[in-house]
């Protein structure tokens, strides 16, 4: 009984910190209509900054806290709002998401440059004042956390319901133009909400450091936890968000207490937020079909069958010549770039044409890789890998496609975390040692390059054929107006499931190629976090064209090469990547469309 009480208190404390983070998320989302995927990353950077001031520079804890939460975090929120998000006002969800992922990746890069990996203990607050409740001990830090949660809850309530500013904030969500007519300034309010949101992310992050440790990725992924809590409140209601956050804290605490401590169950605990995310999604009503406000998208011109054939032949010719000329290290790298290119082709289909942003595409690569690694070396295993991926993609699609847009993208992130923690990192996937040997289909690097080029050419041609054909028209129609599609007799849901699983199949195929090219694959190759640079490169290079996928694949291959060649530049490269994506998010046609434009201008 006392144990239950202790775990309940502990759960409420963790939940309270989650509530602070989630409250900030809901506030920025509900006043600026931009979902800040980088919310957790802001908390992470600010927690590091707090460590710097309080532990490294020896400032008093209260002063460090005040400086970080009261000054640095709000300023940072203002900068992000002003230079990234404001330019994206009214943009489709996919674009704001990509910009947010850009901010996230850039912040992780920056943190790694400024604070290289090492153990960074952070002293808890008011450690000398604890209280005993029965036989369990509640530390001073826990009391501070609970007090902060209560203060934040009260403060946000008063701000939104009892002040003119809060009223104006709520008005701006519904109709910023109208609110502006009545003398409010939407920009200023949106800036204010970002400042408060960042401060809350910072506060939550700092409060959680004794629990989760200072770590780049773990704290960044707090956004999934916060998002799950926010979903309970439908991303709008603050009280329900707080209920959700406390519930999550309790569930996690009880899981620690009462689940067995075998490796599987330890992994299971880490996956609880993602698991609950799916539970909440399943409980949500099917999103209504959106009506109104259809804007078309201008893609790059789609080549006809003849041009595709000529292009593919030229491409293969170049690949063969390269395979004959370059040494085996370079050939192996180029083959890897093409394999990444095939992954990006899966995103051309799903994101470029279908308009669905997936944050879990690399996970399907992992599924394909595991399948091939387990079944061993025959070309058919590549096909099996693709089929297994497609099947898993279909299952996920059936669950997650109940919702659309933002909800869907974040569900794919949850899915990626779930697969990462429960499947890819468990012995089921890569065995007890966590890595598997894979026999190569072709021994020489040159042959690998040609193999990758052939598969890229075939998949690229197939993607273009799909775009020109019936399925391509349908998926674009579904993206533009699912309501109109439904009234024309199309089963919107099946089209989406079909596209999602087709795209998963392509990613799985790439995963098989990846596994046999690398010869050794491990769970760490397919971490959740690898999904994010993938999305950024897709958007930077151009997610609407096959040539964009090629360029993106090569860039993705070059990133680690550059980083190991210039270690000083390693973190900066990641920062640059984030900044480029945040800047280029506006145009999903990416760098490749500039090339096409230059080309058509020259001919004109």
């Amino acid at each position: 009984m006392t144990a239950l009480l202790a775990y309940t208190v502990f759960g409420l404390v963790t939940g309270g910190a989650y509530a602070v983070v989630a409250g900030g998320l809901v506030l920025t989302y509900s006043t600026s209509k931009v979902f800040n995927v980088g919310h957790g990353a802001i908390g992470m950077v600010m927690a590091f900054l707090y460590w710097e001031l309080a532990e490294n520079r020896g400032l008093p804890q209260w002063l460090a806290l005040l400086l970080v939460v009261g000054v640095c975090a709000p300023l940072f929120g203002l900068v992000i709002e002003r230079f990234v998000m404001r330019r994206l006002a009214g943009a489709p969800v996919g674009i704001t998401l990509v910009a947010g992922v850009g901010v996230l990746v850039g912040l992780i890069g920056a943190a790694q440059v400024i604070w290289p990996p090492q153990a960074r203990p952070v002293r808890p607050f008011l450690d000398q004042y604890g209280v005993h409740i029965g036989q369990s001990y509640v530390s001073g830090h826990d009391l501070v956390t609970l007090a902060c949660a209560v203060l934040v809850a009260g403060g946000l309530y008063v701000l939104l319901n009892r002040t003119r500013t809060g009223l104006a904030m709520r008005a701006c969500v519904d109709a910023p133009e109208l609110a502006a007519l009545y003398g409010t300034r939407p920009h200023r309010l949106s800036a204010l909400s970002w400042a408060i949101g960042s401060a809350l992310a910072a506060l939550g992050g700092i409060l959680l450091t004794p629990v989760v440790q200072l770590d780049y990725v773990t704290m960044t992924l707090l956004v999934i936890t916060a998002y799950t809590a926010a979903l309970v409140g439908r991303l709008r209601s603050l009280p329900w968000t707080f209920v959700g956050a406390l519930g999550l804290g309790l569930v996690q605490s009880y899981a620690v207490a009462y689940l067995p401590s075998s490796p599987f169950w330890i992994a299971f605990r880490a996956a609880i937020p993602a698991l609950l995310l799916f539970v909440v999604l399943l409980a949500m009503p099917q999103s209504p079909l959106r009506i109104g406000g259809v804007r078309g998208q201008r893609g790059v011109a789609v080549p006809n069958a003849l041009t595709t054939g000529v292009g593919a032949a030229l491409f293969l010719g170049v690949a063969v010549v390269l395979a004959l000329l370059v040494d085996s290290v370079v050939a192996g790298q180029l083959a890897l770039g093409l394999v990444f290119g095939i992954v990006l082709l899966s995103m051309v289909l799903l994101t470029g044409y279908g308009g669905v942003v997936s944050l879990g595409q690399f996970t399907f690569v992992g599924v394909g890789a595991v399948t091939v690694a387990r079944l061993g070396g025959s070309p058919w295993t590549l096909v099996v890998g693709a089929l297994v991926s497609a099947a898993i993609g279909a299952v996920i699609a059936l669950t997650a496609l109940r919702v659309s847009g933002l909800y869907l993208a974040l569900a794919t992130l949850g899915f990626a975390q779930l697969m990462d923690k429960l499947v890819l990192q468990s012995p089921i996937a890569f065995g007890v040692r966590g890595s598997l040997q894979v026999p190569r289909l072709f021994e020489s690097a040159a042959a690998q390059l040609v193999l990758a080029a052939v598969v890229f050419a075939l998949v690229g041609a197939a993607v273009l054929a799909i775009r020109r054909g019936r399925l391509g028209r349908r998926m674009i129609a579904v993206k533009d107006s699912s309501a109109a599609c439904a009234t024309l007799g199309l089963n919107v849901r099946w089209i989406r499931v079909w596209v999602f699983s087709l795209s998963a199949a392509i990613a799985g195929l790439a995963g098989g190629l990846f596994a046999q090219l690398r010869e050794t694959v491990a769970a760490s190759d397919f971490q959740l976090f690898n999904n994010l640079p993938l999305l950024l490169f897709a958007v930077i290079a151009g997610v609407t064209s096959v040539s964009g996928a090629l360029l993106g694949g090569v860039l993705l291959m070059l990133l680690p090469v550059l980083q190991s060649g210039f270690p000083a530049f390693a973190g900066a490269a990641v920062v640059l990547l984030g900044v480029a994506a945040a800047g280029l998010a506006r145009d999903p046609n990416g760098l490749m469309s500039w090339v096409f434009r230059a080309w058509s201008w020259r001919r004109a």
């Binding site: 079909l289 259809v294 078309g296 028209r473 349908r474 129609a477 439904a486 007799g489 919107v492």
Partner: protein, 230 residues
């Protein structure tokens, strides 16, 4: 021969009742559905086409209760509609827009040119659909709806954006569609069009059915004038 019956349909959005216990039926011919802004016309279309579940009431098509059917199932049973706020597939060309609809019915893509010719926007075939003028986009939605060969066609303010000559051509097209045995429901603010082409008119006001009758009866109805003039 197609008949639509709406029985006691009510739609509430929170506190607001957008459609309040409306019962009406529609037969082959042109049926007008008029009323001031906010009367619930478009919401009623959403209920009939399956995009919105009514809070209460039933929708019957040829005596079959289709209230629980999804929009795509209703479309396969012959219901088609256009939208007041345009819902063309903006990323596709005008021609592709119609082809998507034809393919959904497993009809030949060759019919697309014919349909575009019929509604009078063949000249825009190769244009991206979000670049054509509003009037043409409305006619495109009509062509797209016709591509499913509907027996019940719901048109939401089809004539706004059309000039006088185009409106006359549109009226003639309406008569052709009726001659082919289709039922057409017309939500329209152009009273000349309603009075000249409708066989029967239903008037909605503040979500309720105010009255039904022939155009001549509606013209004489005192309540209708009041609803419009306030």
């Amino acid at each position: 021969m197609s008949t639509l019956r709406v029985e006691g349909v009510t739609v509430r959005f929170g506190e607001v009742t957008a459609v309040d216990d409306v019962t009406l039926s529609v037969d082959v011919g042109v049926t007008g559905l008029i009323g001031p802004n906010g009367a619930g016309k478009t919401t009623l279309f959403d209920v009939i086409s399956g995009l919105r579940k009514p809070t209460a009431g039933r929708v019957l098509l040829d005596d079959a209760d289709i209230t629980s059917w999804g929009p795509h199932q209703r479309s396969r049973r012959g219901v088609a509609r256009t939208f007041q706020r345009l819902e063309v597939f903006g990323s596709l060309t005008v021609w592709e827009n119609v082809v998507v609809a034809l393919e959904s019915r497993r009809r030949s893509a060759r019919l697309a040119a014919e349909l575009l010719e019929r509604v009078g926007i063949a000249e825009f075939s190769d244009n991206q659909a979000d670049t054509v003028p509003t009037g043409a986009a409305r006619l495109l939605e009509l062509a797209r709806a016709l591509a499913t060969d509907p027996s019940l066609l719901l048109l939401d303010e089809p004539s706004s954006g059309l000039d006088r000559a185009e409106t006359d051509a549109f009226g003639a097209l309406l008569q052709e569609l009726v001659a082919e045995g289709r039922a057409v429901v017309l939500v329209e603010h152009d009273m000349d069009l309603v009075m000249n082409y409708c066989d029967r008119v239903h008037v909605l006001n503040l979500g309720s059915l105010l009255t039904s009758g022939t155009p001549a009866e509606i013209r004489e109805h005192a309540g209708v004038r009041e609803a419009y003039l306030g």
